[in-house]
Every structure is written in C-alpha cells, then in structure tokens.
C-alpha cells in the first residue's frame, strides 16, 4: 500500500468514526424495580419531538417514583428507565426495542415517535409478548394487524380527517358556510395522508349534501415545487382546500399557494398550522389556516395547568406542541395498568392495559382508554391561526377559546 492510499484509508476511517460517534449514543442501566424500556429518537431528523416525548415519559416516571413507586403485591417498586436513542433510524429503532426487551428485561416498552419509526418497532412486541405503547405514531397500518401487545396514545388519523370535516359541517350548520361547497384535497403520499383523506371521505359519505370532493390527489413528500399541483387545484375551482402535509411541505406549499394568488373559503394542512416555524417563514400568510391537533396547553381541564407547570419545572420551558403530553399520558396509563394487574407479568399487564382508564388524561375529553385495536379514540382539537400571532381552539365548542372565522376574508 503506498503512502497516499494509506493516508486515504486513515481519513476514511476517521470520517466513519466521527459519523458513528455523532449518530448514536446510549444511556441505560439495570437493577431492582420495574424496568421500562424507552426507545425514541433524540438525534437525527426526529430528534426534537423525540426529546420532548422522552421528557414527558421521564416526568411521569419521576412523579411516580417521588411518591414511592408502584404498589405491586403489597410492595412498593420504583420504575427504572432504560433509554435508547434510535437516531431516527427505523431499522435501529426496531432492534433497540428488541434489545430493551431481551437484554434489559424491560417489562414494557414506550416509544416509536413518527409513523415510520413506530411501524418499524410495532413488529417486535408480539414476538416477545411484551406490552409496547407508541406515544407518537397514529397510522392505522400499525393497529390493523391484530397485534395483541400494541397500544397507542395518538388518536387515528382517519379521526383527524373526520373531525376536520365535522368542523366544516358545523360552520355550515351555523350558516357561516353554504351547503354543497366543493372541496379540493391534496395529501402527502404516506399512510398518514391516506388515512386523513379517508376520514374526510367517510364523513362526507355519511352526511350527504354538505360537501362534494372535486379534486383528490397525493403528492410526494419533500417535493421542491408544487406549482403544477396548485395549478390543477386552481383549475378544480373548489371552495375549500384541505391538505395533509409535514411542516416543510406545508411551508413550501403555502408559500407557493400565496404566490400563485390562490384563495379558498377555508384552508387546512391537516395537523399543521400553528407552528412557530411556519409563522416565522410566512408571517401573516398563515392567518386563518386551521388544523387538527392532539393536544393544546390551552385546554381548560384542571390537570392541564398542573402538567404545564410540572413540565416547566422539570425542563425549564413550557411544552412545545403535543409531543410531551401524549408521552406523559402513555407512561401514566402503563403505571396504572401495572398496579391494576398487581403483577409484573407481561400478559397480565397487557390485559390490564386493555381495560385501564386514565380519568385525568390530558387529551381532549379529559379521559383516556385504549380501544379494541389498542389505539385511543380521543378527539382532536381544531385550532385556527388568527391575525396578530393568536391561535384559538375553535372546535369542539365545549373547549373552544374563540370563534372560528369562516369564510376566510379575501385579502
């Protein structure tokens, strides 16, 4: 090997080593008590929401341990967390769930933020007959396989579509929108997008006369240009525009939507809308957009304010979006199920999870229960951006903090 090749090999190895070091890190442990595996991304693409979810879980664990732990067979047992960072990598995510169960003897595992990572993890729990709760994945493909040990604290995306349509229907009932308006839908080409569109279509079928869908297409995630798609939407001459998109696509599409001079009576990007990053990028261009979200700190239940204060004390900042809340409730539901099972037997805990009801849940409705397929069915909150950086919960009526503005005023 000549000198230049040798140097090159050394450089290549150094680059690989640095990449490896940056990409992954692990923190774990063993010992007495009940071991809970937590597998989430705190580095990589999904690092930030993954970190928020981890904080929600750790806050719940801390509060339980501060009260002495869980009572099982008359003994107080402390919860012990074994945490793994999957680096936003699906394959790694699944293998780390396996590792938490087989090597660390975790009694149950929480995690699976984002649909892709949740789907990868979801094949493991039944194999090891260990309860697994995803606190950040909602796609129906995770819950329609008949898995027996899979649970989830996010309501299904079909419900998001259904509640979006129900909200629009309520505007018709109130006389704000006319009956028979035409809807154009553009959803991302993922399970999330497909489920969202399905929810809207189902509602429209069940409520004939309210709306008709005149355009329905999927688009590719991360597309650099939506001008062709937006031209088709313009040609469809719809009254309402409903999209389902990730944040980056939401910002790009809305920017091009405005630049192409489009206007609809109502506009939504699914679960996206009130994000600070979008506001920063588009300014007043995000005004009047409405979105369906899983949780808001504006909810008026007494437990919400306590959670916000506890979280702030624990992390030094207020919860950003819904991420920490669903994770916090997932851990509390698991703790309650372990106590109700009065055992650390995994199948007994699974059976208890099927029956458990978290009566002081943070989620809309104030109580949380897993459905027959393991997924919760709490509703969504419809929020709407208003001028001056204001965001109001506008639906359902009983938790609304303001009235919906419909139709959107033409600029």
């Amino acid at each position: 090997m000549n000198r230049s090749s040798h140097r090159f090999t050394v450089i290549l190895l150094l680059v690989a080593a640095v990449a490896g070091l940056i990409a992954g890190c692990k923190k774990g442990g063993g010992g007495d008590g009940i071991t809970i595996g937590v597998v989430l991304p705190i580095t990589g693409r999904e690092g930030k929401p993954g970190q928020y979810q981890r904080e929600g879980i750790e806050l719940a664990i801390k509060q339980i341990n501060d009260k002495g732990g869980l009572t099982v067979n008359g003994k107080k047992l402390q919860l012990k967390e074994v945490f793994y960072d999957d680096g936003s990598d699906s394959a790694k995510s699944a293998s780390l769930v396996e590792r938490a169960i087989s090597s660390d003897s975790a009694t149950a595992v929480l995690g699976g933020y984002s649909t892709a990572l949740g789907q990868a993890e979801s094949v493991i729990p039944d194999r090891y007959q260990t309860p697994w709760i995803t606190t950040g994945a909602a796609a129906s493909t995770i819950f329609n396989h008949g898995y027996q040990y899979t649970f989830g604290t996010l309501s299904p995306t079909t419900l998001l579509g259904g509640i979006t349509a129900e909200f629009l229907g309520a505007q018709v009932d109130q006389g704000k929108l006319k009956k028979g308006l035409k809807i154009a839908m553009a959803v991302e080409n993922t399970d999330h997008g497909v489920d969202y569109a399905q929810g809207i279509e189902d509602w429209i079928k069940q409520h004939p006369g309210y709306f008709t869908i005149v355009f329905n297409e999927k688009f590719d995630l991360g597309s650099p240009d939506f001008s062709g798609l937006l031209q088709k939407i313009k040609s469809a001459k719809a009254d309402i525009f409903l999209a389902d998109a990730h944040l980056a696509d939401y910002i790009t599409m809305q920017r091009q939507y405005l630049q192409n001079g489009l206007h609809h009576q109502m506009i939504s990007y699914g679960a996206r809308g009130p994000e600070a990053d979008a506001k920063k990028a588009l300014g007043a261009g995000t005004d009047y957009i409405f979105a369906g979200i899983w949780w808001s700190k504006k909810l008026q239940y007494p437990q919400e304010q306590k959670f916000v204060n506890d979280y702030k004390q624990f992390t030094g900042r207020e919860p950003d979006s819904w991420y920490a809340a669903t994770a916090y409730d997932g851990m509390r539901a698991l703790a309650l199920a372990i106590e109700q099972a009065n055992s650390t037997d995994k199948t007994a805990i699974r059976d208890a999870l099927r029956k458990v009801e978290l009566k002081d849940s943070l989620l809309p409705g104030g109580a949380m229960k897993f459905g027959p397929n393991g997924q919760v069915g709490n509703g969504f909150l419809i929020v709407q951006n208003k001028p001056g950086d204001k965001v109001d919960i506008v639906f359902p009526k009983d938790v609304a903090t303001g009235d919906a503005i419909a139709p959107i005023p033409a600029k």
């Binding site: 450089i11 580095t43 693409r45 297409e217 991360g222 650099p224 062709g228 944040l247 920017r255 261009g285």
Partner: protein, 296 residues
Amino acid sequence: MTAVEFINLLISALLLAGLYAAVAVGMTIIYGVMKIVNLAHAGFMMLGAYFNYELFEWLHLDPMAGALLSLPVFFVFGMGVHWLLVRWLPKSDQPTLSSLLLMFGFWLVLQNVGYLIWGNSDRAILTAHRRTLPLGPITIPTAGLVVFIAAVTCLAVLQFILHKSWFGRSVTALIQNPYAAQIVGVDHQKTSQLTFGLGTAFAGFAGALMAMLFSFNPDFGRPFLVRAFVIIVLGGLESVTGVAFGALILALIETFGILFIPAGYQPAISFGLLVVVLLVFPTGIAGLLKRKWRLA
C-alpha cells in the same frame, strides 16, 4: 387549459429551471474535472441555506446579499475540504468507489453536525418578496423571479470565466482530455482544488438561494441531489449551457407532466427520464444534439 394558465405554468417552469441549473452546475464541473460524484453536494447546499439563515437572523442581512456572500465563503470552504480530504483520493479517469464513499461519509458528517448545531426543526427565511408581480392576468412570484435572476447571472459569469480565463480553459481541457491537458502544462492538482472550491461555492450559493423559497432542515438537499443527477445526464458534462439545457427540460417535464399524471408520481418523472435518457441517449440529449450538429 386556458392560455393564461399555460403561460403561468411556463413561467413557473422557467423559474424552476434557473434554480435547478444553479443546483447542478457545481456538481457537474467537479465531476467533469475530477470524476468525483460529489454526494456531499447536498450537505454543502444545506450549509448554504443555514449560512444565509444565520446572516438574516443575526445581522438582518438581506437574503440576496447573503446568497452572494456565500460564494466566496463556500469557495474557501471547498478549497479547504479538497486540501483536507479530496486530494488524497487516488486519481482516476473514472468515478471510483473510494471517492463515492468518502463524499457520502462526509455528507453524513455534515448532516449530523447540522443536527447538533440547529436541531431538526424546519427553518425558513421570511423574505421581503412574498407576493406576486402581476402582469395583467399573468402572475410572477417575485421571490422566484429574484432567485432566477441571481442564478442565471451567476451561471453567465461562470460561463464567461470558463471561456475567457486561463483557469476556465484549464478546466475545459481537463474535462475534455485530462492526459493531453497535463501534457500541455495544466496543473491538475491546482485546477482540481480551484474547481472543487468553485463547485462548492455554487452548491452553497444554490442552498442560500433555496433558503428564500423553501423551508430547510439538516436533511435538506436530498431531493435536489437526485434532480442534479438527471440534469447532468440530460445536459452532458461539458458546459454550463448543457446544464441549463438539462435543467430546462427537467423543469418543463416536471411542471407540465403533473397535469397529466397524479402529483404523487412526480419523482417517477425524473427517474423515468433518467432511465430513458441513459438507455436511448447515453451521451445525454446535449451530446446527441451536438453529434447531429457535427454531422450536419
């Protein structure tokens, strides 16, 4: 489709082509001179976007000024990367696995450094050019127009440099025949380093321009990398004109193709085009036209 809708779409395609050309040109000249498939190009674009973002956030610098400033900064950065990593690669007149792996590894490092510094949140720049320029019923997005003008101007300057300067002629000679170029006195190492700097400068510049149009995170650049490959195959490797030509074809097909097929199949347009061109015109459409021109 009405005439107005057609013209609006044509304008969108032209604006997109300018951006695509700026994205692909840096990769093209690096491949042409060094036969390196620079996968780290996407990483340089991502850094360019964040570079512009930071200047905008902290110094309130106009994003267009930030994009222009990115050219010299990324030129020096590219020269540094060449000195540190690329110059050790074994020389070859064909792309090598080692160069591919090195640039891929370096892209991963850049990406993860991005995650460490900026996290994974999507960032965007709120430009002053948010609306449209109305010309009767025709609308031109002002941000897209500003980006297009900047991209085309820089490509024209690059074309001038490649044709009128000693460095440009050295680059052209190395692309056409590296052995003959060295025989007549072209310093391969020095020209390679300058070319890598220039390619990186254009990657950073393209990223900085895109920051005015799109939101971005440390994974930014990946979809554009694929499109750059298509443009290179379409336009050939010998000139900026070829790149512009390839970018225009891709942008036109992507923009108008979506009218006839569902939007979800948009990536299939670029990949399908790549496969067809590689099978039917292996030298690219530009090569084919050139051959026909010579025969005529």
